[in-house]
C-alpha cells in the first residue's frame, strides 16, 4: 500500500475515527494524540494486515486500543476533580440529551452504540473491531438501548 492509498483510506474514515475517539476521550488533545498514534501504528503494521477489506475494522481496533491507553494514563495522572469539560454538542436540537445519555454509558457500551448508530457498522464488524464475540456486541447494544431509554425517559419527565 502506498502512502497515497493509505492517506485516501484514512481520509474516508476521518469522521469515524473522530467519533470513535470522541466516544472514549473528551479532550481535543487526547483525541488528536490517539488518532496520531493509531495512524502511525497502522502505517508501520500495514504488512501485517492480511485482508485489505478489513482495513476499516483493523484501524478502528488500533484506535480503540490507543484511546484506552490514554484513558489509563489519564486516570493515573489526573485527579478526578480536575477532569476537563466534555465536548459541547453542535446544536441544541435534542442532541444534547442524546449526548448526555450516551456519555452516561460505560465505555464498552458507548463505543458499540457509536459504531452501530453513527457509523453504520454491522454487529459483525463491531465484534471484529472490538475483538469480542458478536453475541457480546448484541447484548451490549441491547443494554445500552435500555439504559439510554431510561436516561432519556427520566430527563423527559424532569
Amino acid at each position: 500500500v502506498t502512502e497515497q492509498a493509505f492517506e485516501g483510506r484514512v481520509n474516508a474514515l476521518r469522521g469515524t475515527l473522530f467519533r470513535v475517539a470522541s466516544a472514549y476521550l473528551t479532550r481535543e488533545c487526547d483525541r488528536a494524540d490517539a488518532v496520531q498514534e493509531a495512524l502511525l501504528k497502522a502505517w508501520r503494521g500495514l504488512n501485517r494486515l492480511r485482508r485489505e477489506e478489513l482495513f476499516k475494522t483493523w484501524l478502528i481496533r488500533i484506535l480503540i486500543r490507543e484511546c484506552i491507553n490514554i484513558l489509563r494514563q489519564n486516570r493515573r495522572m489526573i485527579p478526578a476533580e480536575s477532569l476537563p469539560e466534555t465536548a459541547a454538542p453542535q446544536k441544541d436540537d435534542g442532541s444534547a440529551a442524546l449526548g448526555e445519555a450516551l456519555r452516561r454509558l460505560p465505555d464498552e457500551m458507548r463505543i458499540v452504540v457509536t459504531l452501530f448508530y453513527m457509523d453504520g457498522f454491522s454487529t459483525v464488524e463491531i465484534a471484529r473491531a472490538l475483538g469480542v464475540p458478536k453475541g457480546t456486541v448484541c447484548s451490549r447494544l441491547a443494554r445500552a438501548r435500555r439504559q439510554m431509554r431510561e436516561t432519556l425517559g427520566e430527563e423527559a419527565c424532569e
Binding site: F6, R14, R31, Q36, L39, L40, W43, R44, L98
Partner: protein, 397 residues
C-alpha cells in the same frame, strides 16, 4: 427513530485540532519520520541476534573444527565461516553506538565496547578452563556450547530490556544540537550528502590502515603460541595474557586521551608503540630474558588498545546518520578480511622462511599502517577552530 445524522450530531464533526493532527501524521509518514521503539537497524540487530544463537553454535563448532583440520582449504573455509558468524551480529550491534552517542564521546564509547569485548573473551577463556575435562586439556564442547549460548541469550535479554534506541537517538540529537557538535561534523563538508574526494581518500586510507594493522597484530596473536613453543621454547600464555591485560587497562584512558588529543594523533602514537614492540620482538632470542618479551607485549597491548578504540569512531565520523551501518560494515570488512588472510600468509611464511619471519612480517605491516594513517585528513574528533563570537564558547570535552 433517530437518523444517523441525528446520532452523529452528538459528537459533531472532526475538529480543527483533530484534522490538523491527521495531516501532520501523513506528513510524518511521507517524510519517513515515524518514530518507533525499534528502528530498522534495531530490528535488524534483533533478527540477527536471534539468528546469532544458532550462529554462535556454528561459530563454536567451526572454531573447534579449526583445531582438528589438517587441510589448508578446510582451515580457510572454517575460519571464514567462524568470522562470518561473528560478523553477522557484531557489525549491526556496534553500529548502534554512533546512533546514540554524541560525536565527541564516541572514542570513549568505543573504548567501553572494546572493554566489553575483551571481558567476553576472558569469559570464554574461563569457560574453556571450566569445561576442560581431561588430562590432555580437551574441552567438553557440549557444555561449552550450551554455556556460550546461555550467555548469548542473557545478552539478548539485556539488550531487549534496556536498549531504547529511538529514545536515546533522540536524546543524542538534542544533545548534539545543544552542544553544537554538529557544526564540526565531516558531513557538513560533503557535497549533496556524498563524501568529497578528500574525505573518500581519507576513508580509503583509514580502511587500509585498519586492514594493515590487523594483518600485523593478528599474525602475532594467532601465531605466537607456535612461535614461542617452537622457536623461543618458552611459555606463551603469560605473554599473550599480559598483552590482553595491558589492553584492558588502557581502553578507558586511551578513549579519554583521544578526546583531548584527537583520534588521528592518538592512533599514530598507538601504531608507533605497536611498531616498536614488534620490531623489538624481532630481535628476541632464546637467550633473551623473559621479562623483555613481557614488556614488549604489554606495550603492544597498550598500542593495540589505542588503535582499536579510535579507528572505528574515525570511520563512522565520516558517515552521515543513515550510513552508519554501511560504514560499520566497511570497517568490519577491512578488519575481517585481514584476519582471514593473515594467519594463512604468516603461517605460510613461517613454513617457508622460518619462525623468525613472524615479527618482521608484523612490523612491516604495522609500519605500512603508520604511513597510510599519516595521510588521513578527515574523521578526527578534534573540532575545527571557531571564528568570531563562537570562539568564546566553552567547548565541551
Amino acid at each position: 427513530m433517530r437518523t444517523q445524522e441525528e446520532w452523529r450530531s452528538v459528537f459533531g464533526v472532526p475538529d480543527a485540532a483533530f484534522n490538523a493532527r491527521i495531516d501532520q501524521t501523513f506528513q510524518k509518514i511521507r517524510e519517513g519520520r515515524t518514530m518507533k521503539r525499534f528502528t530498522m537497524r534495531t530490528g535488524l540487530v534483533l533478527a540477527i541476534i536471534l539468528l546469532l544463537t544458532i550462529g554462535t553454535v556454528c561459530a563454536v563448532i567451526f572454531f573447534t573444527l579449526l583445531g582438528f583440520t589438517s587441510s589448508l582449504v578446510m582451515f580457510i573455509i572454517f575460519l571464514l565461516l567462524s568470522l562470518i558468524s561473528m560478523a553477522i551480529f557484531r557489525s549491526p550491534a556496534v553500529a548502534l553506538m554512533p546512533d546514540v552517542t554524541v560525536k565527541p564521546l564516541r572514542s570513549k564509547a568505543n573504548a567501553i565496547i572494546n572493554l566489553m569485548g575483551t571481558i567476553g573473551g576472558i569469559v570464554i577463556l574461563l569457560f574453556a578452563t571450566v569445561f576442560k575435562t581431561s588430562e590432555d586439556g580437551k574441552t567438553d564442547f557440549g557444555f561449552y556450547i550450551i554455556a556460550v549460548c546461555a550467555v548469548m541469550l542473557v545478552a539478548l535479554s539485556v539488550f531487549l530490556i534496556t536498549v531504547k534506541e529511538p529514545l536515546w537517538a533522540k536524546e543524542m540529537q538534542e544533545e548534539t544540537e545543544r552542544l553544537g557538535c554538529d557544526k564540526e561534523t565531516e558531513v557538513r563538508e560533503s557535497v549533496g550528502g556524498k563524501l568529497t574526494k578528500s574525505q573518500l581518500t581519507s576513508l580509503i586510507l583509514i580502511l587500509a590502515s585498519v586492514a594493515l594493522w590487523y594483518i600485523g597484530y593478528n599474525a602475532v596473536t594467532s601465531k605466537y603460541s607456535v612461535y614461542a613453543s617452537n622457536y623461543l621454547h618458552v611459555n606463551y600464555a603469560t605473554t599473550l595474557l599480559l598483552a590482553q591485560a595491558a589492553a584492558v587497562i588502557s581502553y578507558i584512558p586511551v578513549g579519554i586521551i583521544a578526546s583531548k588529543l584527537g583520534r588521528r594523533k592518538t592512533i599514530l602514537a598507538g601504531v608507533l608503540m605497536l611498531f616498536g614492540s614488534f620490531l623489538g620482538a624481532s630481535f628476541i632470542t632464546q637467550e633473551s630474558p623473559n621479562w623483555l618479551m613481557y614488556i614488549l607485549f604489554a606495550l603492544a597491548g597498550i598500542g593495540w588498545a589505542t588503535i582499536n578504540v579510535n579507528s572505528f569512531p574515525m570511520v563512522v565520523e565520516l558517515a552521515k546518520g543513515s550510513d552508519v551501518g554501511k560504514y560499520t560494515g566497511y570497517y568490519y570488512t577491512a578488519s575481517m578480511a585481514a584476519q582471514i588472510v593473515t594467519p594463512v600468509v604468516s603461517g605460510a611464511l613461517m613454513d617457508k622462511i622460518g619462525y623468525q619471519s613472524l615479527f618482521p612480517y608484523a612490523t612491516v605491516f604495522v609500519a605500512l599502517a603508520f604511513l597510510t594513517m599519516f595521510f588521513v585528513k578527515h574523521g578526527d574528533s578534534k573540532p575545527e577552530a571557531k571564528v568570531g563570537i563562537e570562539a568564546l564558547d566553552i567547548q565541551d570535552d
